[in-house]
Symmetry: C2
Subunit: 245 residues, 2 copies
Amino acid sequence: MRRIKLTVAYDGTNYCGWQIQPNGITIEEVLNKKLSKLTGEDIRIIGASRTDSGVHALGNVAVFDSETGIPPERLAYALNQRLPDDIVITKSEEVPLDWHPRYCNCTKTYEYHILNAKIQDPTRRLTRYFVSYHLDLEKMRRAAGYLIGTHDFASFCNVRTNVEDTVRTIYELSVIEEKDEITIRIRGNGFLYNMVRIIVGTLLRVGRNFYTPEQVEDILEAKDRQAAGVTAPPHGLMLVGIEYE
Amino acid sequence: MRRIKLTVAYDGTNYCGWQIQPNGITIEEVLNKKLSKLTGEDIRIIGASRTDSGVHALGNVAVFDSETGIPPERLAYALNQRLPDDIVITKSEEVPLDWHPRYCNCTKTYEYHILNAKIQDPTRRLTRYFVSYHLDLEKMRRAAGYLIGTHDFASFCNVRTNVEDTVRTIYELSVIEEKDEITIRIRGNGFLYNMVRIIVGTLLRVGRNFYTPEQVEDILEAKDRQAAGVTAPPHGLMLVGIEYE
């Protein structure tokens, strides 16, 4: 028996997110089916990040245990032959049998992509959030400064359960402008449910002068979801990668 | 009666190209239907460029005649409310009744987008041609130099009719590298059927050292489609815009 780690890229447009659910097809479900067929075993993968419907990934991570004779590094290739075009295994490798993608210390990097233009570009509509109004990027950067570091991010979490510890550390939160696109890049040791999208929604309100940058400090201190901005839509979000210690 | 010019952007992925045909839905067909419904007239648009299945556009052009009371500049907005997400009218304006989008002198700009990386990125698969091998960009640029100017491009034309004049002028043919993407940008006074994609296919062969840059001059002189490289796939191609004199 070996434990195999997969690095998984996908276009989330046509999936109901990562995690198996009754209402539609998910990335997890497709990987389980294709891996089971490939190995002849009943494979159930464990994913690192259960991304929402419409969210994309370049480097999500999953593991599974198998007795397959296919060399671990060759599994990516074999699996890609069977996967639909919108899911690609970018790497496969053996890891210790006790290695778990969610219980290891890691740094996750997300990017939120915004098309900031007067008119929508249909060729980018599925991976960029279209924002037609002017954004004050300097104010957004100042606001971002209040969120970097270790804080209780309860204001930036859509409640799934009440028992969660809501303290997290953000290492980087950058607002990058390139031509007609704005990328909000965020790195941290873990994220609460919808945390990245609520941070983006809040920064966009700052950029639009609905909040001052200083108010973001008050929002953080409120520890109340009602204090923060709306959750930005899923299709602008991309899980870039997960680095394990 | 007024003649209205539309500037049209679209993601060509889900269409059988621009021109109406029996085997599937086309951009022209969707625009005719939505315009007819909006105006209450039987509208038949005339397009500037009949792009192939899978080809994208930021600035294709179409005209139609109508007696609608909707102000010409407002038509873009009214039409966008009714169009699917993958077609966007970026501008609508009145033009003289004798103005024709194909019989006016113009400069067309196309970009061909290549993802040049070891592994496919599924989020860019529909708008970038994935090329995993190394490309010698300097050689591609030298080869491009032979194509700039006024030439008989018979070698770079997939035959639709034999009667066509195959002389065209290319003003610009650039090979631009940015991160993991290569953009081949081409501007000219008109293009033969599949001409841009055959030029791209030929430049890619040069980049791979299958042809020397100098051989492109021989290919041009051969005036024979068999002499040139394969037609590059449609999804990397984007009609950026058309400027009329």
